[in-house]
Symmetry: C2
């Protein structure tokens, strides 16, 4: 591996973390390297810097392309592919979450729905279904929230995240303002 120490530390750590999240080490390292590079890199440059085989880099890049995480560029008079990451880190996060949802959450929801359709053949299965229903509803809530939030412009999203649970206080305030005192507070209904 042939990198300035600071960059190497990051690349190694990121590769390590990747493998804890089911992403192969080399893929993690390639992405870390692209992320910190000021210029897009071609495959050969990645090989030199990481010290892995050409074919390994090729497969890693293919994987990253399948995840929509890299931008491919070309230089005039050079027919090699140059790879970079989106400039906006939020874009990276959004893509990452989208793809993971598509690959893991959506199939899980499908499986849960199928299993919930079946007629339970025993009290044991009945109980299991109740549990799976809870999981299904939780996933639905989370993915619904995510779909909603994903549509926000980044600036607004950052505002929301910065507020954190303080939003709660504002909601309370809204309730106090608009709900008849003494009636049960209601939230989540149709607003506009």
């Amino acid at each position: 591996m042939n990198l300035p120490p600071l960059i190497q530390a990051f690349v190694l750590h990121f590769g390590e973390m990747g493998s804890r999240w089911g992403i192969n080490r080399t893929v993690g390292q390639i992405y870390a390297l692209l992320y910190v590079s000021s210029e897009p890199l071609n495959a050969e440059e990645i090989v030199e810097r990481l010290g892995v085989s050409r074919s390994n880099v090729s497969m890693g890049l293919k994987e990253l392309q399948a995840w929509n995480l890299v931008r491919l560029q070309h230089r005039p008079g050079d027919r090699r592919d140059y790879f970079g990451t989106p400039d906006d880190i939020w874009q990276i996060v959004r893509t990452l979450v989208d793809e993971r949802k598509k690959r893991e959450v959506d199939p899980t929801m499908t499986m849960l729905r199928e299993v919930l359709m079946q007629e339970p053949a025993s009290p044991e299965e009945r109980h299991a279904q109740a549990r799976l229903r809870e999981m299904h509803d939780l996933f639905e809530l989370l993915t619904g929230w995510y779909a909603d939030v994903q549509r926000l412009e980044t600036e607004r999203l950052v505002q929301l995240l910065t507020l954190g649970s303080k939003v709660q206080k504002i909601l309370d305030m809204k309730d106090r303002l608009f709900v008849v005192p003494g009636s049960k507070g209601r939230r989540g209904g149709k607003d506009t």
Copy 2:
């Protein structure tokens, strides 16, 4: 594997998903099984139902205990350990996120801070640091939000998630009500 079809489908899927998230298949299967079981199970029962070795189950359970994801119980006149999951699925999610944060996010933040302290020895390193700063700030924002939200009671959290980006509309409304018209809208400052 010796399970009712409905439960087996779930257990297999969950084991598969686990391995995509860096959790070993057997551990995923054990947890899925405990999750849908109405009664806590002892190690031997897990062995029978999943058809894996006793020692594998022992290691899996140890792992799950290290993650704080299982509840250990005892039956009177029986000195075997019985394992179950928390009844509240939200509790499971909270624990899961907490532990992953502790194991993966926190060390990453430490690494990022260390690397950001170093003096860049080249323009290349300077650029890398700027990128790492972006990542650091993003992680800080997300973990700050999470810490905030983690403190909410589940009921309130569900309210918030149900609202999704509609919160945004309420914030706008608040701005219109409380900010002098014509001035620049401000958000995220100290409220209350």
